[in-house]
Subunit: 225 residues, 2 copies
């Protein structure tokens, strides 16, 4: 393990970064299905076979992009939902939701890559699932410290189990019932953004800003914020 990286290692790192950059650009321009190893190689002036020294497979290149996309998305959500002086819980929550939508609108192909239909045959591994948990956990963290709105009612066992699994993954002191409600809001948020991006709202709420804002406010209402 040399303290100073050798020339080979530097070159390898740089070329890896270049490959990722070119792949990122192709993804942003034409989407995941159009991302081709050969096209990336062409863009870099390399033989396509050379790329396989850096990414054993197209799927591995895609995985790297997925992890990047999850990370970008989570950065945006975390920044918007972070606690700050004078920022109410509700503002943190709605801000986080709006940040997610804004990121998705700005990076539609990346959003589709992580929250659209999975590439067939593709299986996410622990890297992608870990990266994917950050954004919803950032929203869940907004609820930290709230009290159970209906502490006397029993929570369905399977829901309680799911909530406990989420708690184990990083929910602080959020009551299980609220964890369930937050998960429902999370899927609703994904549905909102996916519907907008994938054209399900065509001819109805087409510039979807007002609809999205109203929906996000409704989610905040539902969580009692």
């Amino acid at each position: 393990m040399p303290a100073v990286p050798t020339a080979r290692e530097r070159a390898r790192r740089e070329l890896t970064a270049d490959i990722l950059e070119a792949a990122r650009r192709q993804l942003a321009e034409s989407g995941a299905a159009a991302l081709s190893v050969r096209a990336v190689a062409r863009e870099l002036g390399l033989a396509s076979s050379a790329l396989y020294r850096y990414f054993a497979t197209r799927d591995e290149l895609l995985t790297a992009l997925i992890v990047e996309a999850y990370g970008d998305l989570a950065d945006a959500v975390e920044a918007a939902a972070a606690p700050r002086r004078g920022r109410s819980r509700r503002a943190r929550f709605t801000g986080g939701c709006r940040a997610l939508r804004a990121w998705a609108v700005e990076h539609p192909h990346e959003y589709a890559l992580v929250h659209g239909s999975p590439v067939p045959g593709y299986r996410g591994d622990e890297r992608t699932t870990a990266a994917g948990a950050r954004a919803p956990l950032a929203l869940l963290a907004v609820l930290d410290g709230l009290e159970d709105p209906a502490p006397v009612a029993r929570l369905e066992p399977r829901l309680a189990e799911g909530a406990s699994r989420i708690a184990a993954a990083g929910a602080g002191a959020v009551p299980p019932r609220l964890v369930v409600a937050a998960a429902q809001c999370w899927t609703a948020l994904l549905g909102l953004v996916s519907s907008e991006l994938f054209g399900q709202l065509a001819n109805t709420f087409d510039p979807a800003d007002a609809f999205a804002d109203a929906t996000i406010e409704a989610l905040a209402d539902r969580l009692g914020l």
Copy 2:
């Protein structure tokens, strides 16, 4: 225009149906991205070029499958949400939602085809959008005749506009505010089902039945059913 179809015409119709059937099977087995004109041709013992007499393009074959899928899905939802003696509005709504989820779980690739990320470069035409409107309209029809829960509050103009566009597309006598709420529930429902099918719920609410049922009940609550 012969009253009795000629042998050629019958053959053409049959072969078209055979092609669609084989394509449907491939779609159900391996997903849209893996659907290949050549493979369909192989399965039918034809030259791949012969298929192009029936579907000018792979996308056109896909469009036919999309329309079919939308239709199947709408059939399921409409049947479950239809008015029937002794069936409450709430039962019709939750039944329709559950029918959508059940259909999606049973036909994951078809669901992904219509409600997942769009195939890049693919553009839906009026056929697909018309077919896609049936299922949400069936759920909206459950609300027909209900009264505005907050008639005094003003509805944001852009939301009112969207609601009126939906009304023009077939919402009966549903107050605009409820149309907006129903649209929000529709996107939430899609988010629920997509999250389950696309693996976003992995390691949390994994057998998602309880979570889905609870979410659907919450949607019904939100609509005041």
